[in-house]
């Protein structure tokens, strides 16, 4: 099928270009690793109950069960929303236009890139989990796999929207403040650093609008060993819905004008 062939062509090219400068993959990992190393230990001093734990497995384990899902989402959020910058320089180099004059599927121009981004994020997420294990994280393998699955859904959606938005604004100067004004509130309202149960009622209310809040809650449930409950179901539905809506929005931008 030509769409698959085209997507793989774009994916392989993007991956080759990424591997030529692997430094960026490492630099992008620095932020969550630093949080893990320099912020995580603070949480081990908090009472396990305040982090939603049962208090049976010791405060360090509870702290990382709480914190690592948050860091994974943070990695996914930053890693996938910032990909748009690359397509602005591609556009400026005339590469996007060059693709659009070939018979290549226009969806593949986005799809191949998103696939590369998902793969890069997976590698980063696995490294992050391994480092967290060294720091004292203990969680079921299933939970980690489910967590990675959530990251895939988040990355597919956000990367698509990031590419589409960047291609619409076509300027790093406009794209950077746009990103900041969207990503920062999302991070704060998702309870990545500290549990939202510590928040006053009005803040907890506002936080309901952040889809990532549901996804993180579901991941934390998994890390606690609970896989079949409404929190998990909510998380899966929100993540899948977010991915689909974002994918649809992104592809509309890529196929418009003489599809």
């Amino acid at each position: 099928m030509s769409f698959v062939h085209d997507t793989l062509t774009v994916f392989k090219r993007q991956l080759r270009l990424s591997l030529r400068n692997p430094a960026w993959v490492i630099i992008a990992l620095m932020q969550p690793i630093l949080y893990l190393v320099l912020f995580g230990p603070l949480l081990t001093k908090l009472p396990a109950q305040s982090l939603g734990g049962s208090g049976t497995s010791g405060s360090t384990v509870e702290a990382y069960k709480f914190f690592v899902p948050g860091l994974l989402i943070q990695l996914g959020l930053f890693g996938s929303t910032f990909v748009g910058f690359a397509i602005i320089s591609d556009w400026r180099a005339g590469v996007i236009e060059r693709y659009r004059v070939t018979p290549v599927s226009r969806l593949a121009i986005m799809g191949g890139r998103v696939l590369r981004d998902v793969l890069v994020l997976m590698v980063q997420a696995v490294i992050l989990v391994l480092v967290a294990l060294a720091f004292g994280l203990r969680a079921p393998v299933t939970a980690v796999l489910i967590g990675l699955g959530f990251i895939v859904l988040v990355a597919v959606g956000l990367a698509s929207v990031s590419y589409a938005t960047a291609l619409l604004v076509k300027s790093e100067d406009a794209f950077a403040p746009m990103l900041n004004s969207v990503v920062l509130p999302l991070v704060l309202l998702s309870g990545i650093m500290l549990p939202l149960t510590l928040a006053p009622g009005w803040l907890q209310g506002i936080a309901r609008i952040s889809p990532f809040r549901y996804i993180i809650d579901a991941m934390r449930e998994g890390f606690k060993g609970h896989f079949a409950n409404t929190i998990m179901l909510e998380g899966v539905l929100v993540a899948a819905g977010l991915a689909l809506v974002c994918l649809w929005l992104g592809s509309r931008v890529f196929v418009r004008e003489n599809a």
Binding site: T9, L17, G94, P103
Partner: protein, 347 residues
């Protein structure tokens, strides 16, 4: 059958409640194997027309058949059969990624056209030979010279051996040597493979040297079409410029009275400028007239009309005047073209 046949191709842009017609109905016919030049000042609709013909922009009216496929009903069919080399200077560049290898660009482009791996490698060898890119396979695009990078961009447009290739300002930004070198390559395309070449240019000498036929577009419509020679012949005759010693007014009256002289003007530096049919043959009799009247001259010059003269006559503007603003010409989404067109309409 013509390789390009466009009827009433038009495009309007809506910007801030204003509707601007960038292209107002262009009819084009290009035959197989021709090298055709598309000339026009900035904002005349040149790039917008090119972007419509290459499926990058949907026309708001009109229809076209490009390389045997219907532009509106089968844009993918058009894309399969055409090559397109974007302008290299302006808002967006010529389509190569500075961080990619030369070989990678060529092989990936072949894959985008769904060529097999073996065919892609064969085309890479052929094109690097044809376009003097041998030995550069492992170089990053950003390390290439301007001329090399431009030739690579042209190679990318030719990977799938298209019968028709569009070159948007192929030599803009290149030094004179690289430019004439590129002309050779463009000529070789046609003579070697019979490829039809449709190019836009700011350089009249380029159109003159390279093109079999020229279209001049202004304010979104084609105002003239023909071979460079035909167009030049439309300008009445040749231009004779002469400097006389004193008695300029008397000389002017004498010359204006001659049947072969179309008109006489006095230019800023005091020289007399005559439009004359068959200038070379007319010169002796003009000299005799002045000599008989006792008017002495200290210089005389005869020149054939250039495409710039044609352009000036057709559009009332000199093409050279706005070449300085060529950097702003490129309009990926056409909005600037619309703005320029609007500005052009007002002037």
């Amino acid at each position: 059958m013509s390789i390009i046949e466009a009827k009433g191709l038009a495009r309007t842009f809506k910007s801030r409640k204003r509707t601007v017609a960038a292209v107002r109905g262009v009819d084009l016919r290009v035959e197989e194997g021709e090298i055709v030049g598309f000339l026009g000042p900035n904002g005349a609709g040149k790039t917008t027309t090119l972007r419509m013909l290459t499926t990058l922009l949907a026309p708001t009216a009109g229809s076209a058949t490009v390389a045997g496929a219907d532009l509106l009903r089968d844009p993918v069919g058009v894309r399969r059969r055409i090559g397109y080399v974007p302008q290299a200077i302006g808002q967006t560049m010529g389509g190569t990624d500075p961080a990619a290898l030369v070989s990678e660009e060529l092989l990936d482009q072949a894959a985008l056209y769904r060529l097999s791996k073996a065919d892609g490698e064969r085309r890479m060898r052929e094109l690097t030979g044809q376009l003097d890119l041998e030995g550069l396979d492992d170089r990053l695009v950003k390390t290439l010279s301007g001329g090399q990078r431009r030739r690579l961009e042209i190679a990318l447009g030719l990977v799938h051996e298209p019968p028709l290739v569009f070159l948007d300002e192929p030599t803009t930004g290149l030094d004179p040597q690289s430019r004439s070198n590129l002309w050779e390559h463009i000529r070789a395309l046609r003579s070697g493979l019979g490829t039809t070449v449709f190019l836009t240019t700011h350089y009249l000498e380029e159109a003159d040297a390279l093109c079999d036929r020229v279209f001049i577009i202004d304010h979104g419509v084609i105002v003239a079409e023909g071979t460079p020679d035909e167009l030049k012949r439309r300008i009445s005759g040749d231009v004779v410029t002469l400097q006389v010693n004193g008695a300029r007014e008397r000389a002017r009256e004498l010359l204006a009275g001659q049947e072969i002289v179309e008109d006489v003007t006095v230019s800023d530096d005091g020289a007399l400028r005559l439009n004359v049919y068959h200038g070379a043959e007319a010169l002796p009799s003009l000299l005799r007239v002045l000599d008989d009247a006792g008017v002495t001259m200290h210089s005389i010059n005869l020149s054939r009309p250039t495409l710039d003269d044609v352009f000036l006559t057709m559009t009332g503007r000199s093409l050279r005047d706005d070449s300085a603003s060529a950097r702003r010409d490129h309009t990926p989404d056409g909005k600037d073209a619309a703005g320029n067109a609007a500005a052009g309409t007002r002037s």
